[in-house]
């Protein structure tokens, strides 16, 4: 089917890496193993029939109580074929890291910093992984589900 070109190609080429696919409400999605993420993303960007040249969004979702706990979500867009695609990878809390896709799409730089800042997911190979939206002395990762919304932070300021 035309609408599932991407999923079909991924299934033929990377069948062991794909955990799950769906097209809920027309959004093609694939969940892949995090070890093969870089390879799959390079394929998605470079394959002549896919050409996903835009990395539109990168975020994470915290499914507290489920193992693996986090899910890193990437939204891709192909300008040539006018197609959107979502690729997800599951990250557990104990091994909370995933490969950085900055070598593939430069725009991922700040998005990954934001995911690290708010969820605490480490992106291996990121050129400068530090907090972006919150200040350096912030303790904790606020968008995790176990961070209470009214938690207070220690006071910061000049030490003299």
């Amino acid at each position: 089917m035309e609408a599932n070109v991407t999923i079909n190609k991924l299934n033929t080429r990377f069948s062991e890496s794909i955990v799950e696919t769906h097209s809920y409400r027309g959004d093609d999605t694939a969940i892949v193993r995090k070890e093969d993420l870089l390879e799959i993303c390079t394929f998605l960007r470079d394959d002549k029939e896919l050409l996903y040249n835009f990395m539109m969004d990168l975020t994470a979702v915290d499914y507290l109580g489920r193992e693996p706990r986090f899910e890193v979500v990437y939204h891709l867009y192909s300008l040539a074929f006018n197609r959107r695609f979502r690729i997800k990878t599951r990250v557990s809390e104990s091994d909370c890291c995933v490969d950085s896709i900055v070598p593939i799409w430069v725009s991922a730089n700040w998005f990954e910093r934001e995911a690290y800042d708010l969820y605490g997911i480490i992106f291996k190979g990121h050129p400068e992984l530090r907090r972006i939206l919150l200040y350096e002395g912030f303790q904790g990762h606020p968008l995790r589900k176990d961070y209470p919304i009214n938690k207070r932070q220690p006071q910061i300021g000049p030490t003299n």
């Binding site: 969004d57 979702v61 959107r84 919150l134 968008l143």
Partner: protein, 396 residues
């Protein structure tokens, strides 16, 4: 550098164009490493306006998120409202009536025009053209009068609802729009005469802040900044939503990707948006503006008073929130700065499990160092203005 210059003991000056500076509106910090006035290196620090939008959304119901979306891109709040409502409706799987779609298009375009007015006015102001700033601010005031007539508030509109709108178009809206647009077109012509062929303005913005098209795509540019590079990607044309596929409008595209092209693209988009609003007002059908599904959208007071189903659902949706089926979607609209995407995850309860906004100016601000390295400090001013970084949207 000549040999004699190498013998001079010189060091780079590190200067902080800090969050509190006339040009860094939206509060951004630029840490500049300068050699004289040339920028050797630049680091951008954002997050001064981070208010925890996503965390707050997870804490309230689906409808309670709507006023928060006003405060994302606070110069075009109606577009954020429309984008969020469309995303939730896609998640639920419902479609709103035709009249509602037309009014949402009108609201989005009015917000887009006012955003472009604000951006060009601010650029003029920071380049020293005070008069152009005030002319466009006057035009924006007239537009805000229209928006106030529509929904009661000038800026934080909170007008769109999931499954409909807060209220229908008021009487006399079409006539007032015609009047307002006449004055706005005159003011547009005035600013055009003041800036577009002004040698000083052109010298400041031409060939400054250039971004080649392949780099723009790699950096995630969308919106007027991408179109200024020559790539005609506009969500309204490529993934038509609401009734944009029935509207006749053009998408202006630039050539070089410098600040002057961004300025010209925005100026022309104002005209195209006015065309869209006029067409929408001509062709708008009559009918209801809210979808007739009490479990997702409150019905009128008459209906609630008379239909037990509406009453029960009104009570439940107010206390517990509407309940979209579990799942996740991504929905994008064309914001004034680019593709405004919403990624929503629902777990079937009345509260959003995840409500993510893809901010269009986030990647634009990330690319600032690339655009100004090797230039002068004075080049930061038009470049930063023209990417239209809105603090509320970038930091959420």
């Amino acid at each position: 550098m000549s040999d004699s210059a190498k013998d001079l003991h010189s060091e780079y000056m590190v200067i902080n164009m800090g969050p509190s500076h006339p040009v860094t509106h939206g509060t951004v910090k630029f840490l500049l490493t300068l050699e004289g006035e040339t920028i050797i290196d630049m680091k951008v620090d954002i997050g001064y306006l981070h208010r925890g939008f996503e965390k707050m959304c997870e804490n309230g119901t689906w409808e309670q998120v709507m006023p928060y979306t006003d405060r994302l891109n606070y110069v075009s709040p109606l577009i954020n409202n429309v984008g969020y409502a469309l995303a939730v409706e896609k998640l639920i799987g419902i479609d709103v009536p035709e009249r509602c779609k037309y009014i949402r298009v009108i609201a989005s375009e009015l917000a887009r025009i006012s955003d472009h007015y604000t951006n060009i006015a601010a650029s003029g102001l920071e380049l020293g053209a005070f008069t152009a700033f005030l002319y466009f601010v006057e035009a924006r005031e007239l537009l805000w009068d229209l928006i106030e007539m529509l929904c009661g508030a000038r800026v934080t509109a909170n007008y769109v609802r999931i499954g409909g709108l807060k209220n229908d178009l008021p009487d006399g809206f079409k006539a007032k729009t015609r009047e307002v647009f006449k004055t706005c077109r005159e003011l547009w012509a005035d600013v055009d005469h003041l800036l577009t062929k002004n040698r000083i303005f052109i010298d400041r913005v031409r060939n400054v802040g250039i971004m080649p098209p392949e780099d723009a795509i790699a950096w995630g540019f969308t919106g007027p900044c991408l179109r200024a590079c020559g790539i005609p990607y506009d969500v309204r044309k490529f993934h038509p939503y609401l009734v944009y596929d029935q509207m006749d409008f053009e998408v202006p595209v630039g050539e070089k990707g410098d600040n002057f092209d961004r300025y010209l693209v925005r100026m022309e988009e104002i005209n195209q948006s006015m065309r869209i609003v006029e067409q929408a007002l001509e062709n708008i059908p009559s009918g209801p503006v809210n979808v007739n599904m009490p479990e997702y959208r409150w019905q009128s007071k008459d209906d609630i008073g008379n239909r037990i189903e509406s009453l029960i659902f009104h009570f439940k949706t107010v206390t517990e929130g509407i309940k979209p089926p579990p799942g996740e979607i991504y929905s994008a609209v064309e914001g004034a700065n680019g593709e405004l995407g919403f990624y929503l995850v629902s777990d079937g309860s009345g509260k959003p499990y995840k409500c993510r906004v893809r901010p269009p100016c986030f990647p634009l601000t990330a690319a600032m160092p690339k655009m100004v390295k090797g230039g002068f400090i004075a080049d930061i001013v038009p470049t930063f203005d023209m990417i239209n970084m809105i603090g509320g949207e970038c930091d959420r």
